[in-house]
Each structure stands twice: as structure tokens, then as C-alpha cells.
């Protein structure tokens, strides 16, 4: 596939989409996984490094309780997933962050843990946030069995049958994580872009590796238990079914503050995505094979959406629209003509843009960047960021006001005196330090709110700035008015990182936190978003990804939009 377009040379780069278009919650909440997603990047790295996997310890009993260690070695570095499986009652099983017991707890460890380290982890992993963890632990996680499917699959395999594909597709995972902590939380190792652990110096690769190994463990576990239960009658899960199993995750508000607190990083992610889109839209022509590939990916997306079933009414409607849009695109008589035109992908976009939903538009961009690794793969190196602690000293008051007027028009247009625009507030709950959304004048905690009322802060800062001498340095303005430092920092960052600010009122009545979650999850590589409310969603990671023994297969890294045949 890669050879078809070796000599592509984009001419006349297509202008990147403006932040005022991209950084709206409704669009951010329509993003899909793509080649740039972190799960995809991890698989590429594992394949490139010819990573090996080994179960170095397996002390699981026939009931599925005990511990295990799964190791992977790549680039001369060993990483161990330490697993503990616990006995819990059904009533104790909960997806909530505030749960205190889980079916399994995990940690990704650098190197091979000693007996003392394993012993320490056995005491602390099961209490997660309440424990003290080792710096050699890169992540901290826990998961529960998907009760619906785990028993069904076990019964089938132990009886010598493959599980029902419809059931597999309906759920998509055997176990579901409820948190994957990284970057120094609770004493584990800090994320370090300078580490010599080369694969893990990109954002979230430690977390992705953890989840990939959890997936591997879940399949090994079910096969092991089936053998214990069914003895000679049992069979192992087939590869095509196993490959369609990912790891579920219940994603709640805990993820939302990240997108607001890490401006430069979010800019890097979105800027990279927009750069990729711009590059492919700039391609002047594509050969027949690549045209066929594009159509194949659209077909894949169509089949994927046909198998994407959720309970949420809004999301069901969006999926139906998406599915129909893709069908219409495939059936469109102009499709081949458009792909034959100059700037075919841009032509395709322009032709359909007013006929399709946001979700469809964004899924098309994920499709468009897929067949062009030579244009896209280098971009994965620029998705990290060194976030600055100081505020750039080079601006004066006049320039800062100008930035606000240009880049924060959206904020200035919000009526911050209106009750609707002050409807919510964000705060951290004492219960497991979970971020939550409160309703102003109704819920407690308003005085402890997190500073996510960006539009309000911008307007208040502007009122102060316009009274100051124009040539006063920004630093002097802040030192005399420290209360505006937080927002001025954001404004100055936004000048050089224009995709760093969500351009909607994050405390307004119309704000749906699920859009924030979905945006971040798309960069993770999540699929099958299954919103349970405006505040949390279930997703699947690594569904369709190659299993460890398939990593060196041809097309192993080609797994956009997982689909299970005959499901």
C-alpha cells in the first residue's frame, strides 16, 4: 500500500482550518480515531521494534484469582505489566472512580520487579489511589470484568465453541478499565520526554502500552479459565474474534480538565491533525490504487458504523446519520469522478461538505490521512510539548489587548451576566479527587471552583488592561494585577498556539462535557463511543489491533475502524 504513492508531492498547500472553526465543542466532540492516534502509534512502534511478549509469571488459580506478570522487550528495554486479580462481590463492582474494589489491578513497571517490589505492589495496587507507589511504576490502573460477556465467552470456550460474534461485537471487550493513571500520580514515575526509554517519551505511550498488555492479559485469562473449566473439551479463542476484542473504558469527567490545563499540548495534537488534513487535501492527484483504498476505507467506516450500537438517543441519531451519509457517499455516482479530479480529496470534501454531518466530515478526514504514511508519519514526532512555566516577556499591554480581540472574539461575544452563561461550575470532589460539574446556586462548592470560566476571565482582564498605559509591559501589568496572571498566560500561549483554547463557554448551560472527553479519546484511538449521559462514556481501545503474535504480519498496522464479519 505504501508504495503506490511514493512520489506524491503536494503542491500549493491547502490552508489549514481556522481555530475558530475547529475548536468548537460540537466539532471537537465529533473527532474519530486516526493514524495519528496514540494506540496506532504504539502498535507501529511495537512492530518497528520487533517487540517480544512473554508471560513471565502466571500465578492465577482456576477461579481466576492471583497474580501475573507480562513482559515486553523492545529497544533493549523491558516493561512488565504486573497484574493482580481479586475476588469481589458483584455488588462491589462499579465503574465509578470512587469504587474501592476491582476485579483486577495493574501497573506498568520499568524492568522486572523484584520480589520485594512485587510484594509492595500486592499491598498497594489493590487500594490504588490510597496506596503509595514506586517511581519505577509508570502507570496505575484497575479494571472490572464485563459481566455481560465474560461468563458467556467462558462458557462457550469451555464447551468447545467460539463465542457468539454478535455478543462480542455488542460489547467489544472482556474487561473494562475505570482509570489509567500516569505521570507521577500517587507516587508513580513522572512522564519524562527526555527519558532514554525511547518508546515511552511520547505522550500517553506508557498508558497505551498498559492497556495493550491488559488486553493481551484478558485474552490469555479467558483462554486459561476455559481450559481449567472445560479441560480437553475447551478451545482457545479464535484470532479473528480475539482481535475484535479491545479493552473497555469508562471515561468520566476526570479526563476533562486535562484539555483545559494543558494548552500547549492540546495545540500540538490538534495542530498536527490539522496539518495532516491540510497535507492530504493538497495532493494534486492520486493513482487508481489509492482511489480504491479511499473507497475501501469509506466502506470500512460504513461497516464499522453499522456495528456501532449504543443506548444514548443523541448518539444513536448521530450514528444513523453518519451511517447514511457514508452510504450516500459510496453510492454517489460522482465519487469516482471526484477521485480522478485534481486535488481529489479536496474535491470530495467540497462536494459533500454541505450534505453531511460533522461526524461524517471528521470521519472522512480520518480516512483521507490513512493511505499516506509518507506524508503523515513524521508528524507523530511533534505531538509532545514542553510546557513553559514562565510567561513570555515580549508583549506589552496594547499587544495583549490585540491578541484578546483577535483570538478571543468568541469569549468577548458571550454575555457573562446571563444566568445561562454561568450555569455550571467545575470543582474537585473529596471523593477520590474526582472532577465534577456543579450547578451554580444549586450545588455546594462554588467558591472552590476550578478556573475554567475562561470567557469570564478574559472579559474581566480586558477591563483592567484597557485602563493601563498601552506601552506598559505585560509583565508589569501582571505584577501590578496578579489576579489576571492566569488568564494572560493563557492568552499569550494562544498567540503562538492557536489551537490551544476550546472556543466555547465551559460553564455555559449548553456545554456538554462529553464533547471534551470525546476529543481527547479520539487522540487516544478510542472507538465505539457509548455515551451514558452528557458526563461520561464507555469506549473501547485497541479493538481491531493486531495481537502480539500478529505484529509482524503484513498490514498488521492497518486497523482503522474495526469490523467483525458475520457479527
Amino acid at each position: 500500500m505504501r508504495e503506490n504513492n511514493k512520489k506524491i508531492q503536494p503542491i500549493k498547500p491547502h490552508k489549514m482550518r481556522q481555530p475558530s472553526k475547529v475548536m468548537k465543542l460540537q466539532r471537537l466532540g465529533s473527532f474519530h480515531q486516526s493514524k495519528l492516534s496514540f494506540t496506532r502509534q504504539l502498535i507501529n512502534e511495537l512492530q518497528f521494534n520487533n517487540s517480544q511478549f512473554e508471560i513471565s509469571e502466571w500465578n492465577i488459580d482456576q477461579n481466576g484469582f492471583g497474580n501475573a506478570v507480562i513482559q515486553t522487550v523492545f529497544n533493549n528495554n523491558t516493561f512488565s505489566l504486573v497484574v493482580f486479580c481479586h475476588s469481589i462481590d458483584d455488588e462491589e463492582r462499579s465503574d465509578r472512580v470512587i469504587a474501592e474494589k476491582w476485579d483486577m489491578t495493574f501497573s506498568l513497571f520499568i524492568g522486572t520487579p523484584t520480589k520485594i517490589e512485587l510484594d509492595l505492589m500486592s499491598k498497594n495496587l489493590k487500594i490504588q489511589e490510597l496506596g503509595r507507589h514506586l517511581p519505577k511504576q509508570l502507570t496505575l490502573s484497575r479494571a472490572n470484568k464485563s459481566v455481560r460477556i465474560f461468563t458467556k465467552v467462558l462458557d462457550a470456550l469451555s464447551n468447545g465453541e467460539q463465542p457468539c460474534k454478535a455478543d462480542i461485537n455488542d460489547i467489544g471487550y472482556l474487561i473494562r478499565t475505570t482509570a489509567v493513571y500516569g505521570n507521577g500520580k500517587f507516587g508513580i514515575g513522572d512522564f519524562s520526554p527526555n527519558t532514554d526509554k525511547s518508546v515511552l517519551n511520547k505522550p500517553f505511550q506508557a498508558e497505551m502500552l498498559t492497556v495493550y498488555l491488559i488486553r493481551y492479559f484478558s485474552i490469555e485469562l479467558i483462554n486459561f479459565l476455559a481450559e481449567k473449566k472445560g479441560a480437553n473439551k475447551s478451545v482457545k479463542m479464535s484470532d479473528d474474534i480475539a482481535r475484535h476484542l479491545g479493552v473497555g473504558n469508562a471515561t468520566g469527567l476526570g479526563m476533562a480538565p486535562f484539555l483545559i490545563n494543558h494548552q500547549e499540548l492540546i495545540h500540538q495534537w490538534i495542530n498536527t491533525r490539522e496539518t495532516a488534513i491540510s497535507r492530504v487535501l493538497s495532493i494534486k492527484s492520486i493513482n487508481k490504487n489509492t482511489q480504491k483504498q479511499i473507497i475501501t476505507y469509506i466502506e470500512q467506516a460504513y461497516r464499522y458504523t453499522s456495528q456501532w450500537n449504543v443506548d444514548d438517543v443523541i448518539q444513536t441519531k448521530r450514528i444513523k446519520t453518519l451511517n447514511l451519509d457514508l452510504k450516500n457517499i459510496l453510492n454517489c455516482k460522482q465519487l469516482n469522478n471526484l477521485l480522478n479530479k485534481n486535488y481529489p480529496l479536496k474535491s470530495l470534501c467540497d462536494y459533500f461538505i454541505n450534505k453531511i454531518s460533522l461526524e461524517t466530515e471528521e470521519i472522512l478526514y480520518s480516512i483521507f490521512i490513512e493511505p499516506f504514511p509518507q506524508l503523515i508519519d513524521d508528524l507523530t514526532k511533534q505531538m509532545g510539548s514542553r510546557e513553559k512555566k514562565s510567561v513570555f516577556v515580549g508583549y506589552n499591554v496594547k499587544e495583549i489587548i490585540q491578541i484578546i480581540k483577535e483570538n478571543y472574539k468568541w469569549a468577548l461575544n458571550i454575555d457573562i451576566s446571563s444566568s445561562d452563561e454561568n450555569y455550571f461550575f467545575w470543582y474537585t470532589s473529596q471523593a477520590k479527587l474526582e472532577p465534577r460539574l456543579g450547578v451554580t446556586l444549586k450545588d455546594d462548592g462554588y467558591q472552590k471552583q476550578l478556573p475554567f470560566d475562561i470567557s469570564h476571565q478574559v472579559q474581566k482582564a480586558l477591563k483592567i488592561l484597557i485602563k493601563l498605559p498601552e506601552n506598559m509591559t505585560g509583565s508589569e501589568a501582571m505584577i501590578n494585577h496578579p489576579e489576571i496572571r492566569n488568564i494572560i498566560r493563557r492568552v499569550i500561549i494562544n498567540k503562538t498556539s492557536p489551537y490551544s483554547e476550546i472556543q466555547d463557554n465551559l460553564v455555559g448551560r449548553d456545554m456538554r462535557p462529553i464533547d471534551i472527553l470525546r476529543c481527547k479519546l479520539s487522540f487516544f484511538g478510542a472507538s465505539k463511543y457509548d455515551p451514558k449521559s452528557d458526563l461520561w462514556t464507555r469506549i473501547t481501545l485497541f479493538q481491531g489491533a493486531p495481537l502480539p503474535h500478529q505484529l509482524q504480519d503484513e498490514n498488521a498496522c492497518d486497523w482503522l475502524f474495526p469490523y467483525l464479519s458475520d457479527a
Binding site: 465503574d95 465509578r96 472512580v97 470512587i98 503509595r132 517511581p135 505521570n183 507521577g184 500520580k185 500517587f186 507516587g187 508513580i188 514515575g189 513522572d190 512522564f191 519524562s192 468520566g252 469527567l253 513553559k388 512555566k389 514562565s390 513570555f392 516577556v393 515580549g394 470543582y427 474537585t428 470532589s429 473529596q430 471523593a431 479527587l433 474526582e434 465534577r436 460539574l437 456543579g438 450547578v439 444549586k442 450545588d443 455546594d444 462548592g445 472552590k448 478556573p451 509591559t473 509583565s475 508589569e476 501582571m478 505584577i479 496578579p482 489576579e483 489576571i484 496572571r485 492566569n486 488568564i487 494572560i488 498566560r489 462535557p513 451514558k532 449521559s533 452528557d534 458526563l535 461520561w536
Partner: protein
Amino acid sequence: MLTVSLNEIYSETYKALRSLEIDWGLAKDCANLSKWLANHDQYFLGSLLKTADLYKEKKLSVSIKENNLKKPLTAALMGLLLVEYVSAKKITWEGYLHSPKFMLASMSIIAQEQNISMVLKNSDSDIIAYTNKKNLYLDTNNFNNLTGYFFLETYDFNQNYNPLSIVLNQKTEVSKINSKCWDRLSSMAFETYVPESETSKSGAGY
């Protein structure tokens, strides 16, 4: 002693300061300075807690114009702003500073990030620290963390400064800190969390 990550130091620090209603911008600045000190194997927690206590008692100033020996400017909260201010205006600032070690962190950060070199002098105009080419140089014999009168200015490349020792860039990945002090910091941070109630559960989406 307790081992904590740099990320924990950052988050507990700014939350603890927020419990005193210190502005978000200053709280985060101080958190970054604390993290820098920890990352360079420098004690910081005692000074940080002292800063919190004195701030609460209104014995610290957050004004560059109004500070004296009894109410010095807090380097922990204002250090980063001060180095930005001095370098933007290309002036010399002089005044009383509490916990000047936070100035070392501030000077180093702005040197690393914005390539701005600065000089810190004591009341006798002796250089006690400076940054040059992103390195921090410290007169370890004459530097202490006591409140005093200081001069802060941008580095003059036409001047010859006496060579001082480079602060060893010992980038530790974890910090060993006094557990009692950490408990105190954590309990302050805890005050910024909202107690759970039945209605608040709906704000988590379940």
C-alpha cells in the same frame, strides 16, 4: 521520609496555596518553582509551608513597591513574575525578599525558557547567583535562604563576573520529603475539595 513524584509536588502545592485564596496564577507559579527545586534536589517544603503561614498572617508582601524587613516580598509567590518584570523592563529591582531560594528557581526557569540571564546580589551588592547560557551559578558560601535585601537585574555581558560554582543539575526523578510536612501540605490541599453529597453525585454523571 516519603517519596513523591514531581507531578504530586506541583499539584499539591498549587492546591494548598489555593486553600489560602492565593490567585491561581501565583499558586501555579509557586508550584512550578517548588517542582524545580525538588527536581534539583533542593529542600523546598519547609520554606513553602513557612510562606503559607506568613501569608496567612499577612506578614508577606505581594507588592514589588511595598516591602520591608517586617513584610518582605515573597519570592515563592512572586519570584517568577519578578524575573519576568525585571527582564521585560530591563531595570534593576531592589527590595526585601523572603525565601530567596525561590529566586534561584525563577532565574533558572526564565534562563532555560526565554534565554534571559539574570544576576542576584545581596545588600552589599555582592553577586550571590547568576544565570548565563542557561546555567545557574551560585555562591554557595554566601547564599542562604534568609530574608534580606537584594538586587535583581539582567546579566550584563560587558561585565566580568567572578566565576561561581555551577549548581549541579541533579535532576532527580523523585523527591524524598518530610512526611509530616507533606501531610500538612496535603491537608491544606484537601481544603480545596468539595465534600461529597447526594446531589453532588449527579455532577459526576452516574
